[in-house]
C-alpha cells in the first residue's frame, strides 16, 4: 500500500501537491518538526503563466549577461530548435514528417506548442524512464534479482502521469513489497550489497545532489561534511529484509518468481574505519544533522524518505532542477550535476535559486520544469557562436553547448532517420540494449561504477563508419529507407532535388542550403545508377558531426 497514494494537482499554481504531501506526512510522522510546517498558503506569485512560461527566467538570464558584458548567441532557428527539443524531450530526432509539419507551421507560439505536444508524446515518459533507469541502476546491471523492466515500467507511469517529483522519490526511497509488482523496489535491491554503500552514495547523489561518498573515508577538505555524515545516512539502510519467493514454473520446476523487500525495526549501526585506524560507529542521521527519534523502533527507510522529501528542505528540488537544466543545456548550474554544496558555487546563482523555489512551490511538477527551461532564452539560443571568443567555455548559458548524443539517443535517432518511411518507426529496445553493451564497461567494485566508451571515441567512429547498424541504414533491399525514398522521388517532378531534400531532412532535420543542394542535384541528374551515390551521401550525413551532436 503506497503511503502517498492518490493523485494530486499537477498544474502550475496547484500547490495542493506539496500541501497534501506535507499533511499526509504529518499523519505518519511522529516528529513534530514536519507536522508544524502545515499546508503552504496560496499560489506562488511569480510562477510563469501559460502564455509566458519562462517569464521569471529570462530577466535573470539577461541581467547576468548584461552584468558580465556577454553578448548572447542569436536565437536558434526553427530547424535547430526542433531537433534539440525532440532529442532532449523524447530522446530521438524528428521523423521527416514530424519535421516538415513543424517547419511549415506559422503559429507564433509553435515552439511552446511543440514542447506541450512532445510532453504528451508516448516517447516522453519512455525517454525519461530510460534516463532514470540508467541513473538508478546503471546501464549495465543485469542481476538476477533485479527486475530492470519493472523499474522502467514503473518510472514510465510516474512520468506519464506527471507525478510530483517528491512523491516519486519518496516511493523510490521507501518502496517495499514484490519487485515484480512494485517496480520501484528494484532500486533498493540493486544496491544493497557491501553494507548498502552503493545505495548510500547513489541516493544522496541522485535525490539530494550531494556527493557524500567523498567523505566515506575522511572528512571533506572543502566543506564541513564529516566522515560520520556518510555513515549516518548509511545507517538508515539497516533492517532491510530481502526474500526470494519461489514458485513452480510451467514445467513444474521451482524457480525464483520475485523478490520481496521489507523493513524491520533494528538497533543496528554502521561501522567504519577512521583514518587513524580506529573504528567509528554511526546511527541514522540526516545530512542536516537531524536524527531519528527512536532508531530502534522505526522503519528506517521510511524515516529517510520523510527527511529526503521534507518540504522544509531544498536539496531535493535543487538536485532535480540542476540535473534537468543540465539535461537540456549540456551542463548544470553546478557541475558535476550531483556535487552541490558550499565548496562548489553555482553559475547564475539567482536563477538557480529562483528555479528551485518555483519548482518547489509549484509542487515538484517535472513537466512544468521542462516547459520553463525549454521556453527560456538560454534554451532558445543558437549554438552558433556570436563572436570570436578566446576561450570557448561559456559559463552563463549564452550559447547552446554542443553535446554528444547518448548511446540511446544515437541508436534511436539512427533508426528514426532510416525508418522514417515506416509509420511508427521501428523502435526495438532489446536490440538497442544488445547493441549498446559493446560500449559499456563495469568496474565491478562496491560502488557499482560504470562508464561508456561512447563519447566520440575511435570505437564509436568505427561503428558509425563500418558497423552493422550503418550497413542496415544504407540498405538497398526492397523496403529500405533508400529504396522507398527513391521510389517516391521517381514520382515527383524533380526527383534529384526531392531525393537530396529527403536525405537531409531524414538525417539533419533541415533542408540543404542552396549551395549544398546544387552540386548534389547536378551529380545525381548526370548519373543513371543513383543508389551507390545516395548511399554514400546518406553515409556522410549520418557520420557528420551535425548528426551526431545535439546543437
Amino acid at each position: 500500500m503506497p503511503l502517498l497514494g492518490g493523485r494530486f494537482g499537477r498544474r502550475p499554481g496547484a500547490v495542493r501537491g506539496v500541501a497534501a504531501l506535507a499533511a499526509g506526512l504529518a499523519t505518519v510522522v511522529a516528529s513534530a518538526a514536519l507536522a508544524d510546517d502545515g499546508p503552504r498558503a496560496g499560489p506562488p506569485e511569480s510562477s510563469g503563466s501559460a502564455a509566458d512560461p519562462a517569464g521569471f527566467i529570462d530577466p535573470l538570464l539577461k541581467a547576468a549577461w548584461e552584468e558580465d558584458g556577454v553578448k548572447p548567441a542569436v536565437p536558434a532557428g526553427d530547424e535547430e530548435y526542433l531537433r534539440r527539443a525532440y532529442l532532449d524531450v523524447i530522446g530521438r530526432i524528428p521523423t521527416v514528417a514530424e519535421a516538415r509539419e513543424f517547419l511549415t507551421t506559422k503559429a507564433p507560439d509553435k515552439r511552446a506548442r511543440l514542447i506541450d505536444q512532445l510532453l504528451e508524446h508516448v516517447d516522453y515518459p519512455k525517454n525519461f524512464a530510460t534516463l532514470w533507469t540508467n541513473l538508478l541502476l546503471g546501464r549495465s546491471r543485469q542481476e538476477r534479482n533485479v527486475d530492470r523492466d519493472a523499474l522502467t515500467a514503473w518510472l514510465r507511469k510516474q512520468f506519464a502521469a506527471d507525478r510530483p517529483w517528491n512523491e516519486t522519490v519518496y516511493d523510490l526511497v521507501t518502496a517495499s513489497g514484490s519487485n515484480k509488482e512494485n517496480g520501484a523496489v528494484n532500486y533498493t535491491i540493486a544496491h544493497l550489497e557491501n553494507e548498502a554503500i552503493p545505495l548510500t552514495s547513489r541516493s544522496t547523489r541522485l535525490f539530494l545532489g550531494r556527493q557524500l561518498q567523498c567523505v566515506q573515508c575522511h572528512d571533506h577538505p572543502q566543506n564541513d561534511w564529516k566522515q560520520a555524515d556518510f555513515w549516518g545516512i548509511n545507517a538508515f539502510y539497516r533492517g532491510i529484509k530481502v526474500e526470494e519467493v519461489r514458485k513452480a514454473d510451467a514445467s513444474g520446476l521451482e524457480r525464483v518468481d520475485h523478490v520481496e523487500l521489507s523493513d524491520v525495526p533494528t538497533g543496528a549501526f554502521a561501522r567504519f574505519d577512521r583514518r587513524n585506524g580506529m573504528m567509528g560507529v554511526a546511527f541514522p542521521k540526516f545530512i542536516d544533522g537531524r536524527k531519528v527519534a527512536n532508531p530502534d523502533k522505526a522503519l528506517r527507510r521510511v524515516e529517510l524518505g520523510k527527511l529526503v522529501v521534507d518540504p522544509d528542505g531544498d536539496m531535493l528540488a535543487q538536485a532535480m532542477v540542476n540535473r534537468t537544466w543540465a539535461h537540456f543545456m549540456g551542463k548544470g548550474f553546478v557541475n558535476p550535476v550531483d556535487d552541490i554544496g558550499p565548496h562548489n558555487p553555482p553559475a547564475l546563482e539567482p536563477l538557480f535559486a529562483k528555479l528551485t523555489e518555483e519548482f518547489h512551490a509549484g509542487g515538484y511538477d517535472v513537466k512544468q520544469l521542462i516547459r520553463w527551461i525549454a521556453a527560456s532564452a538560454a534554451y532558445q539560443a543558437s549554438s552558433l557562436r556570436p563572436a570570436k571568443k578566446e576561450f570557448p567555455e561559456d559559463e552563463l548559458f549564452s550559447v547552446m553547448a554542443l553535446r554528444s548524443m547518448s548511446p540511446e539517443q544515437l541508436f534511436d535517432s539512427l533508426l528514426t532517420a532510416t525508418a522514417a518511411h515506416r509509420p511508427g518507426g521501428a523502435r526495438d529496445d532489446a536490440k538497442r540494449d544488445r547493441w549498446m553493451r559493446q560500449f559499456l564497461f563495469t568496474f565491478g567494485n562496491d560502488e557499482d561504477d560504470e562508464t561508456t566508451s561512447f563519447q566520440g571515441t575511435i570505437p564509436q567512429s568505427l561503428m558509425m563508419m563500418n558497423g552493422e547498424l550503418m550497413r542496415d541504414a544504407l540498405s538497398d533491399k526492397p523496403g529500405s529507407f533508400l529504396t522507398d525514398a527513391l521510389r517516391q522521388a521517381r514520382r515527383s517532378r524533380r526527383p534529384a532535388a526531392f531525393m537530396v531534400d529527403q536525405l537531409y531532412m531524414a538525417a539533419l532535420s533541415r533542408r540543404p542550403s542552396n549551395s549544398e543542394a546544387q552540386a548534389l542535384v547536378r551529380y545525381l541528374e548526370s548519373h543513371a545508377d543513383a543508389m551507390p551515390f545516395l548511399q554514400d551521401l546518406f553515409w556522410a550525413l549520418l557520420n557528420s558531426n551535425e548528426f551526431v551532436l545535439i546543437h
Binding site: C214, C217, Q455, A540
Partner: protein, 432 residues
C-alpha cells in the same frame, strides 16, 4: 602532409582548429589506402634515442598491498596467512604468491608509504590517474593522456593511437581532447570491431564518402568551432589513419608464438600485457592494462591466492622480463597500482576494506634505479613509519622518468593555468 606539433602551452580554440585542419582535412580523404607509410617514427626519433613509453598495470578495485608487497608476518591482528619470500633484489621480500615477479624485482621498486587520502573508487581512480582530486571547475587530463600529448603528439606520421587502454576505458583526456583519449581495447584476445569497411566499399568509394563528409561538416565546424565538433573531426581523422595503417594487425595476438602467449597467460590480463608490449614496441606512448576483481571486501585471501595473484604474477613477470630482453625496459616505464590499498584490519568476512592512508605501488624501467624499497609502514601496517609519499610525488617521478618537462603547464578551457606536476617532488631514490 604531416600534422604539426601543437603547442603544449595552451589549448585555445585556434589550436583546436589548426589541429583539426592538419589531422583530418589533409590526410585521409586524399589517400585512403593509397599510401602505407614506412616505419613509425618511434623506432628512431631525433638523436637516435627511443622515445619513452609507459605501461600502467591498473588493479581496479584497490589491491591488497599488505598481501602482495608489504607483508606483516609479525602483526598478529593484521598479518594474514601469506608468507613473505626473498626476491632477485637483495633484501626485498614480497608475497609467496608472486614467485615469478620475485625473480624480476631487481628491475622494479616498491614504494611502501603512499598516502593518497581518497577511499572511494571513483575518486581514488581519478586521483591516481590524474594526480588531482576531482574538482568541479575542470576535468583534469589523465596523466597517460598528458604523456601521449607531450611525447606521442610530437611524433610525425604515427598511425596508431598514442594512448591505449586495455580491459578498461581508462581516464579521459579532459581538455586535451578526444584525440588523446585512450583507445579502448575491450578484449585483448578479440578483434577490434568494425576496423574494416564493408566489402562493397573499396578505397575509391571510401574516399568519395570521406570527401562528402568533409563537405557536409566543414560549414558546421566553421560556424561553431566548439571543441565537440572539432574533436569529432579529429577522431575521425585518427580512426581513418588506423583503418588505413599496416599496424592495425598489431592488435591481433595470434601472430605471437604460442610459447610466448603461454608465458604471459591467455587470460585477459596476460594477453593485455602482451598486447601492451607489442604496442610499446611500435612506439605507442601510453598503454594501460587493467585487471579487475581487487575489491576484496570478502574472502580476500582465497581470492588472491587462487585467482588474482597467479594471473598478476604471470602477466607482470612475463612483461617485465620480455621488455628487458628486448632492450625496451630502459625506455619503458612500468607502473603497478590501483585506486587505493586495503585495510590492515581483516574484517569478519575475511576481507579487507578500502585503505588510502598508507599503501604500496610499484614502478621501474625507463632508466630508473631499481631493486629498492622506498618508505615503510609500521608493524601493523596502519601508519607510515618512514618517508611519506604523496600522489603528486609519484606523478613527479613518472613525469621525470619519461623526460617530460617538470614545468609543463596547460591553460584550461576556463583560462586558468594547470600544471602537470603541482607541488610534487620526484623520488630521488628512483630518478635522482
Amino acid at each position: 602532409m604531416t600534422p604539426p606539433i601543437i603547442t603544449p602551452r595552451g589549448m585555445r580554440r585556434r589550436h583546436f582548429l589548426g589541429h583539426m585542419a592538419a589531422t583530418t582535412l589533409g590526410i585521409p580523404a586524399a589517400c585512403f589506402f593509397a599510401n602505407l607509410r614506412g616505419a613509425a617514427a618511434a623506432a628512431a626519433a631525433p638523436g637516435g634515442k627511443r622515445p619513452k613509453s609507459c605501461i600502467l598495470l591498473w588493479m581496479s578495485g584497490g589491491p591488497s598491498h599488505l598481501d602482495i608487497w608489504d607483508l606483516k608476518p609479525d602483526s598478529e591482528r593484521n598479518g594474514g596467512p601469506f608468507k613473505p619470500i626473498a626476491t632477485s633484489a637483495p633484501g626485498v621480500m614480497i608475497s609467496e604468491h608472486m614467485p615469478n615477479v620475485a625473480k624480476q624485482m631487481h628491475h622494479l621498486n616498491i614504494l611502501r608509504s603512499l598516502d593518497s587520502k581518497e577511499g572511494n573508487h571513483d575518486r581514488g581512480t581519478y586521483l591516481m590517474h590524474t594526480g588531482y582530486v576531482p574538482n568541479p571547475t575542470v576535468v583534469h587530463p589523465g596523466w597517460g593522456s598528458t604523456a601521449a600529448f607531450e611525447i606521442g603528439g610530437r611524433m610525425e606520421d604515427f598511425d596508431l593511437p598514442h594512448c591505449v587502454s586495455i580491459n578498461t576505458p581508462g581516464q579521459g583526456a579532459g581538455f586535451l581532447g578526444m584525440s588523446y583519449t585512450p583507445f579502448m581495447v575491450g578484449d585483448p584476445n578479440g578483434q577490434i570491431a568494425n576496423l574494416a569497411p564493408p566489402k562493397d566499399v573499396d578505397a575509391l568509394r571510401m574516399n568519395r564518402r570521406l570527401q562528402m563528409l568533409s563537405r557536409v561538416e566543414n560549414d558546421f565546424i566553421k560556424k561553431r568551432g566548439a571543441a565537440p565538433a572539432v574533436d569529432h573531426k579529429a577522431v575521425y581523422g585518427k580512426t581513418i589513419r588506423m583503418m588505413n595503417s599496416k599496424y592495425k594487425d598489431i592488435f591481433k595476438l595470434d601472430s605471437e608464438p604460442d610459447a610466448v602467449r603461454e608465458l604471459y597467460g591467455k587470460h585477459s590480463f596476460g594477453s593485455g600485457c602482451l598486447l601492451a608490449r607489442r604496442l610499446v614496441e611500435q612506439g605507442v606512448t601510453y598503454v594501460e592494462v587493467a585487471m579487475g576483481g581487487w575489491d576484496t571486501h570478502a574472502d580476500n585471501f582465497e581470492t588472491l591466492s587462487t585467482r588474482l595473484l597467479p594471473q598478476l604474477d604471470q602477466g607482470m613477470a612475463a612483461l617485465t622480463a620480455d621488455l628487458a630482453d628486448r632492450g625496451l625496459l630502459d625506455s619503458t616505464l612500468i607502473v603497478w597500482m590501483g585506486e587505493f590499498g586495503r585495510t590492515p584490519r581483516i574484517n569478519p568476512n575475511a576481507g579487507r576494506d578500502h585503505w588510502p592512508r598508507c599503501w604500496s605501488i610499484v614502478m621501474g624501467g625507463a632508466g630508473m634505479k631499481s631493486g629498492q624499497v622506498v618508505g615503510a609502514t609500521d608493524k601493523d601496517g596502519v601508519d607510515v613509519a618512514d618517508r611519506p609519499i604523496g600522489v603528486m610525488d609519484m606523478i613527479a617521478t613518472m613525469t621525470k622518468a619519461m623526460g617530460i618537462g617538470m614545468d609543463t603547464q596547460y591553460t584550461t578551457p576556463r583560462g586558468r593555468p594547470l600544471k602537470v606536476v603541482d607541488d610534487g617532488k620526484p623520488i630521488a631514490e628512483l630518478v635522482g
